[in-house]
């Protein structure tokens, strides 16, 4: 029931990125400096976020990253899913894995769907804009 620290770092780095002008090129080095995340880890993270479609990357001198969407339309759920994979608290809520081998008619499974939805909703309700912008 804990978030991986990679996901935690990703949230911090993206919120830092959202505080920059929308069309600026941010290098991994710059964001690592601003946030305090170790550089190699930051590089890995930026790459993964770009692969997930949250960032656009450009190589070469003067390259870097740029948010591919507006901060208000990027949620915590998006970030977490980009880094950790689909949000599925148990194996049985993940599609295509209904063979948990336990009770054939599992009375618990329907409840997990509800809980999973609630958790996902809590994460989806917080946008990157609100993280970057402001005091609580």
């Amino acid at each position: 029931m804990r978030l991986s620290s990679l996901a935690d770092y990703a949230v911090v780095m993206l919120s830092a990125a959202a505080r920059h002008p929308r069309d600026a090129r941010l290098s991994a080095t710059l964001l690592a400096d601003e946030t305090g995340v170790p550089l190699p880890t930051a590089q890995k993270l930026m790459g993964r976020l770009a692969g997930a479609g949250l960032l656009e990357s450009a190589r070469g001198t003067g390259g870097g990253f740029r948010l591919s969407r507006e901060p208000c339309s990027i949620s915590l759920a998006d970030i977490v899913e980009a880094v950790e994979g689909p949000i599925a608290m148990t194996a049985c809520v993940e599609q295509g894995k209904h063979d948990c081998g336990l009770e054939t008619a599992c009375k618990v499974r329907p409840h997990w769907s509800v809980v999973n939805g609630a958790v996902k909703g809590a994460l989806a309700g917080v946008s990157l804009a609100s993280l970057a912008g402001a005091e609580l």
Copy 2:
């Protein structure tokens, strides 16, 4: 963002236990049979749940486990915390660990408290009684 399978098993086993008479002695072997959880793993889990105070244990012949509270007053949050430790999505929401080394004035932390509370609430809202009892 995923629950450990130990926690998943624990929920299944406790919901099975809740379907038995309140004062019956349940052995780890019995519950393992009913749920399909491997016996050694079930033993380990029951011990941990007893240590957390959710179960009362009795040794010797005819011993076993018994719920220490009414099913309606045991929530998913209780079970998850018993198996996985405190529900804290990030390190900074856990008390006594405010030295994350990142930004001194972290703009993200207050939001994590909110999200953490929402997740915890979602888990606390489902009681063991509703898990054991009924169809959705």
